[in-house]
């Protein structure tokens, strides 16, 4: 369980970017834990990347409420797997609500302390004022067209995570593209999985663009548990990095619509190209989850990382869910805090590798290649 920062500081954090060790059949075993927003979003596009990559063994898809309610996300995830010819990938519905946070409080905090608007981070997903309720599942638009015939597994996502990591010690990468509710539950129910996990990749938090992002402030308690747990390796994509590339930059969308196969071409045409043409001022979203997927598929695209400590504010006020960062390697010189003889992180802060740069050209090449190559259907 929680290791002290001092102990963690001495643990080996060898290379700035991880080398993808081959799992079974040379593939990287990965659990995809995500607030899977449909019909097309950074969540969905990252799913497409992982499904299209040859070197990823997708052990299962877990959903968690955030961008949408978990039931709606699950409906999208199941049907997307059908459309992509991958019905054998099991889907597990995870937490339908954050550990502690509620919509009423999130709304009240915004009224009292102001919404988070710096860096346009006020988004509340399924806790937005006009969002529907937990059990409503809306019909899926074309090209989804209808609900899937395949069904979600009866097991909760947290149990699947525990079982899978125990069965594949030191081999499973946790891709956490939503709030860490499922991961935190798994770590609390089975602390033994923490040292058995190969790597956690998470999208959220920020230093310059904003002090937080929805994956953190939607369930701040889960984020605090997740960051503090002491995973062997925790890789973070911050909003600062994600903001460097947007989906519509460099004519990616038009190229994909023209060259991709169904259903990818249809998704990009309907939900990126058409809105973009209807509103040329539209700013497409940054690519946070795509970057996480890129890190899982081809980590060498990232040019560097900073070793840092992170902790989360869980005070029930305007700072709920803020991220705090500390340098993992204080320079020991200059006039900063280190000259005070004190540069310690919070008592239980978690150790993370914060990706700090990427080769945009290679990222674009990988992304476009994955989107336009033939659909990677299952062999069966």
């Amino acid at each position: 369980m929680p290791t002290s920062p001092a102990q963690l500081a001495h643990s080996a954090m060898a290379s700035p970017v991880s080398q993808s060790l081959p799992g079974s059949g040379g593939k990287k075993k990965l659990i995809y834990d995500q607030d899977h927003r449909g019909p097309l979003s950074t969540d969905t596009v990252a799913t497409l990347m992982l499904l299209q990559a040859d070197n990823i063994d997708l052990l299962g898809v877990c959903t968690v409420t955030c961008d949408m309610w978990a039931k709606q996300e699950t409906a999208y995830a199941l049907r997307l797997l059908e459309l992509m010819g991958r019905p054998e990938v099991p889907v597990f519905m995870g937490a339908q609500e954050p550990l502690i946070n509620t919509k009423a409080e999130a709304q009240m905090r915004y009224r009292m302390f102001g919404a988070r608007t710096l860096g346009n981070e006020g988004y509340l997903g399924s806790f937005a004022k006009d969002a529907g309720n937990r059990d409503e599942v809306e019909p899926l638009p074309a090209p989804y067209t209808r609900f899937a015939q395949i069904k979600a597994q009866p097991e909760p996502a947290a149990d699947f995570i525990i079982r899978t990591i125990r069965a594949n010690p030191h081999e499973v990468t946790m891709y956490c593209g939503g709030p860490m509710t499922n991961l935190a539950l798994a770590a609390m129910l089975a602390p033994d999985i923490v040292p058995l996990t190969k790597e956690v990749i998470f999208m959220g938090g920020g230093i310059h663009h904003s002090t937080s992002s929805v994956n953190v402030y939607f369930d701040a308690e889960a984020a605090k548990i997740g960051f503090r747990a002491g995973w062997p390796k925790f890789t973070l994509v911050t909003t600062d990095l994600a903001e460097q590339v947007h989906l519509a930059d460099d004519a990616k969308v038009d190229y994909i619509v023209n060259h991709a196969h169904a259903p990818i071409a249809d998704l990009f045409r309907e939900f990126e190209q058409k809105p973009q043409r209807a509103n040329p001022q539209r700013r497409s979203f940054r690519m946070p989850d795509e970057m996480m997927a890129a890190h899982a598929i081809e980590p060498s695209i990232f040019t560097g990382s900073d070793e840092m400590y992170i902790d989360i504010v869980t005070h029930n006020d305007g700072h709920y869910g803020d991220t705090s960062f500390w340098d993992g390697k204080p320079s020991g010189q200059g006039e900063g805090a280190s000259s005070l003889g004190q540069n310690n992180p919070s008592l239980k802060a978690g150790r993370v590798e914060v990706l700090n740069g990427l080769d945009k050209k290679r990222f674009r090449e990988l992304f476009v290649d994955l989107m336009t190559r033939p659909i990677n259907r299952s062999q069966a």
């Binding site: 039931k71 509620t102 409080e105 709304q107 019909p139 609390m188 005070h315």
Partner: protein, 415 residues
């Protein structure tokens, strides 16, 4: 949004619910609040979720009451770190069940740590904000306590570790599975921090409507508001107290403080003397060694309040409580000086709680402005719970002494 569309969505939702998502997650029967369903053989099925800290004390005595009551069917015990570390509690619990001849009751390991709270941060908070004066107890996190792996040998009459073992399944999965298999029938006795119960409802929110009653020890109005079971794991407490259970009954410290283990049963005769004299082994041994002997060394000994004994009474014989009131409750989870503090609001929003000795007499409570000018209700998401407010002292003491002194109720007979 038109009605037609909303209805369409509902229909589709129902279709999805029945086809795609876990069947256990919905469509389950729900209970009317306050309805206690008839049970096979007239016994109330109970899961005892407890920080069962030995060798003696309110945790153990509450457990003994549950084991001794004829109308209670203990389906299992689930342990949680609180007054002691989980593994030490397990050692005491298994051996206690052996001594009581109740090795048929399965025992499960639960959460070894609170959700977010840590010992190191707690000790720093106490230094930064000042310590708890009214109840300084930190349980497993007491300054000089060992770590979670530190299991001490068991003193007499436990003498040695049990031959029986804990179950392999996790406490949380046992709770979820048992409640689903017995919808509307399993009462949850929660005598410790609420970590296990919180994890169970986070993992399986559908069980909330299937539990006829959760009985919780903790919170307070006047004696003090920051109580151990709540501030050991405030996030778990907040989650459990907010969940829409058909019924959640809570024993605040104010009532628990009204009766202490060393109190008199009849004039000149203490409950502990009555029990030590009349009870069978091992109950008589426990009282002799851990109540009568300490009292002999220190006649002014302060015995502990009867906290978990009272939640046991609420499960075994709820008529012991003469008054209760539905109130809103919430637990502060902001990690400041009030981390874990309990707050109450009357259901109608305008009254003050009446439990215990009020700090100001009713006569002094001058209403000098129109209360309708103020918002006095609960915060959003606060839970509505059944707060036990008045206890029949004689009936409670009789129940306690009777249960402790009746013949040991060995192995549960299946009906």
């Amino acid at each position: 949004m038109t009605t037609t569309r909303r209805e369409f969505i509902k229909t589709v939702s129902a279709a999805i619910a029945s086809s795609q998502i876990s069947p256990t997650a919905m469509g389950a029967p729900t209970l009317e609040p306050g309805v206690f369903p008839a049970q096979s053989g007239g016994r109330r099925k109970v899961i005892c979720d407890q920080d069962n800290s030995g060798p003696f004390g309110t945790d153990i005595l509450g457990t003994l009451m549950m084991l001794q009551a004829d109308n209670i069917d203990v389906l299992g015990m689930t342990l949680v770190t609180g007054d002691a570390w989980l593994k030490q509690e397990m050692a005491f619990t298994l051996r206690l069940l052996e001594l009581m001849g109740r090795t048929d009751i399965p025992v499960y390991y639960g959460a070894e740590f609170p959700m977010l709270n840590t010992k190191e941060e707690w000790l720093l908070r106490l230094q930064l904000y000042g310590g708890h004066r009214a109840d300084p107890w930190l349980g497993a996190f007491n300054r000089n306590n060992g770590g979670p792996q530190d299991v001490q040998p068991l003193p007499p009459p436990y003498d040695h570790f049990a031959d029986i073992d804990a179950q392999h399944d996790h406490a949380v999965r046992f709770i979820v599975k048992t409640v689903r298999e017995n919808p509307g029938q399993v009462t949850v006795y929660a005598g410790g921090p609420l970590t296990n119960v919180a994890l169970a409802i986070a993992l399986a929110p559908d069980i909330v409507s299937l539990v006829p009653e959760v009985v919780v020890m903790g919170t307070g109005f006047h004696a003090f508001t920051n109580t151990f079971n709540m501030f050991f794991d405030p996030e778990a407490a907040r989650k459990v107290l907010r969940a829409p259970w058909p019924k959640l009954s809570i024993v605040p410290v104010d009532i628990a403080e009204e009766i202490h283990e060393g109190d008199e049963f009849a004039p000149g005769r203490r409950m502990i003397e009555e029990i030590a004299t009349r009870a069978q082994s091992p109950i008589s041994d426990l009282f002799q060694r851990y109540a009568i002997e300490p009292l002999r060394h220190d006649p002014n000994l302060n015995f502990f309040r009867m906290a978990d004994e009272m939640i046991a009474a609420q499960v075994i014989d709820p008529a012991v409580f003469r008054k209760s009131e539905p109130m809103y409750v919430d637990i502060c989870t902001t990690p400041g000086p009030r981390y874990g503090d309990s707050m109450f609001w009357p259901q109608n929003g305008q009254q003050r709680p009446e439990t215990g000795a009020p700090p100001v007499s009713s006569a002094d409570r001058r209403v000098f402005v129109d209360p309708s000018q103020f918002y006095m209700g609960p915060p959003p998401s606060a839970g509505l719970v059944n707060v036990l407010q008045e206890i029949d002292h004689d009936r409670f003491k009789k129940l306690f002494v009777d249960l402790m002194t009746k013949p040991i109720r060995k192995t549960r007979s299946k009906i």
